[in-house]
Subunit: 372 residues, 2 copies
């Protein structure tokens, strides 16, 4: 059984437990759901229907692409359903003989307006859109990486580390001078190593722009790694899976305030790493870092970290919010990325990708604070 | 009055007409809404509240960025609301003294699950999430570009045309050889010309990969513009606004089938351009192109075009679907992009950006089919 089939089997099991006869996944512009790729290999732009009697229909926008990438029992072009998801759900239910009156689960994030349309136009079935259903189980399944995924992560982490070393070398030698040089170097090197690309737009912020959590624009023609603090945040995407690392490049002389930002960030990173363990509350880790910063009168304006995978941000979320009840588990791959930002002093962040195993933590990437 | 204030005034007018006392806009990961930038200048990651008595509160994730970019009556960091949109709506309503029992409109695409939370946790107001409300009016307002926007489009179109000419020159001279060379050349040249970046991931698909509507991966180390049909689809983003053009590079000898794909695409482009006029049904234009292709036994697996602006895809949508009732109007800027794709022969697409004026159409960009 392929790993795609094995994943579909796990979803069929959830469906049987939940009494759901058909589930719809949608990966479309503005409604991205990498579960479609996770279950079929199709990289994007498709609907996927699974039935509890273990049949799958993929409905891709681009049939030529599906022929190359996708694995499903049936592949039907979206055009056959007038490119309308309600037509597709009706067609799939008929073709796969889903019994009238049974439960069909649609995506968790379906809009209220679309939900009303489904209920109105698919009246012969019980339409479910909910927390705690099969879709949520799929997100939880995706958060625990399987063997195939961990193998991919070891490969893409190695490529990421190679490029980190090259970046340090070429920034030290001033071969890479501007933010654009630096960002496009990563794009080119990634593709030389068979990456699909970068997992998100690279953020290269020289000293004049590192005060922003996410620099805007992402990179410019300004000098990178000049005197002060520069932030470089990037990820490589390989077979669908992205890394996500942040280096801070430091060129002195620094102010005492800048040194303080750096040392606090490093202390926070070490604290978080020391806490990471099977079973720990993600919120508790984030709260510990917030408390560390708070003791020095600082505040981190973002979360401590997040899961990575087919999405650059996915479960688990390591944030200090009252609605966060998630716990770390073996098999999860996530970032730790403490950072501090100051309107005039600039900012710094240190971010690496962590695999949690039964025996402890494994730091997959080697991002660091580089003193030039 | 600045153009940002003028836009907010138009929204206040809509709110008064609709009896809405407060409206919430949300621009967040997975729920992007460039209306926030359109109304305040803040490039992203923020909530915005407007009240019918003409007050605005921006709630940015990154307060440092807002200080540089944003214009609003009040700016309050999201952290003050525990980074929760329901806390923020309650806080904004209290601060701006929105009367209990009055109507608050939330984003049109709010999920069903989130809508239920709003209704439950904001019980003192009448929460609206609907088609045909103020949010929909804002999308319609954004589809008709104002003077400031048309000025930006003339600038970014000129930059796009410069880069198109450079691309043709450097591909003819074989200075740019691979898909990656070509895509990264665009990234670098864009930033030299003060663009924020590209409006979407550049698609550079050599002859072996042009069969896909949206090549996957977007670009690789493969040769670009070798014998056969190669597609290059890119857009430049300048002050928030993106162009969107597609060139097809052709290197002979071609098969008769490839020549047929090209000549049909060019005929379809001319047909669409000749039909574009104030008041025409967008669906009718798309249907005419579908009919032209259909007569030769071909089918275009995507829409004829779409509006561009702060989003790469926005209203109007030129697609042949029964639910499409939009009509072109003076002031709209949109793409025309007929294309045909064949699993073994490859594909071709020709896409330019069109400004509709009172006196006719103006083709802003000069993408073309380039025979090498």
């Amino acid at each position: 059984m392929s790993h795609l089939e094995a994943r579909r089997e796990r979803v069929y099991d959830c469906m049987a437990q939940e009494g759901v006869s058909m589930i719809m996944f949608e990966d479309a512009e503005g409604r991205r759901d990498p579960a479609v790729r996770w279950l079929t290999g199709q990289p994007g732009d498709a609907l996927l229907f699974l039935t509890v009697d273990k049949q799958s229909i993929l409905v891709p926008w681009d049939i030529n692409m599906a022929k190359v990438y996708a694995d499903a029992d049936f592949i039907v072009p979206y055009a056959e359903f007038c490119r309308q998801n309600i037509q597709a759900i009706l067609g799939a239910a008929e073709f796969l003989k889903v019994p009238y009156g049974s439960r069909i689960e649609i995506p968790m994030d379906t809009s209220y307006r679309m939900f009303l349309q489904f209920v109105d136009q698919v009246p012969d079935f019980d339409i479910l859109c909910r927390t705690g259903g099969v879709h949520e189980s799929v997100r939880e399944l995706r958060a625990i990486k399987d063997e195939a995924e961990i193998r991919i992560y070891r490969q893409v982490s190695e490529i990421t580390n190679e490029i980190i070393d090259l970046l340090e070398e070429k920034i030290r030698s001033e071969t890479l001078k501007t933010e654009t040089d630096t960002a496009l170097f990563i794009e080119a090197e990634a593709r030389k190593r068979q990456c699909e690309g970068t997992g998100f737009e690279t953020l290269a912020a020289g000293p004049g722009r590192s005060f922003g959590i996410h620099a805007f624009p992402a990179y410019t023609d300004a000098v990178f790694a000049g005197p002060g603090l520069s932030i470089l945040d990037f990820g490589l995407k390989y077979q669908g899976y992205t890394t996500d690392v942040t280096l801070t490049f430091v060129r002195g002389p620094l102010t005492k305030q800048q040194e303080k930002l750096l040392s606090l960030t490093e202390r926070a990173y070490k604290l978080a790493l020391s806490m990471a363990a099977d079973g720990i509350s993600a919120r508790e880790m984030a709260a510990a870092v917030d408390a560390l910063f708070g003791k020095s009168g600082k505040a981190m304006p973002h979360a401590l970290g997040h899961g990575i995978g087919l999405e650059a941000h996915e479960a688990p979320f390591l944030r200090n919010r009252s609605d966060n009840s998630s716990r770390l588990q073996a098999g999860m791959i996530f970032t730790l990325e403490p950072g501090l930002y100051h309107a005039s002093q600039g900012g710094c962040r240190l971010e690496n990708d962590i695999l949690l195993t039964d025996s402890g933590v494994e730091v997959l990437t080697r991002a660091r604070i580089v003193r030039l």
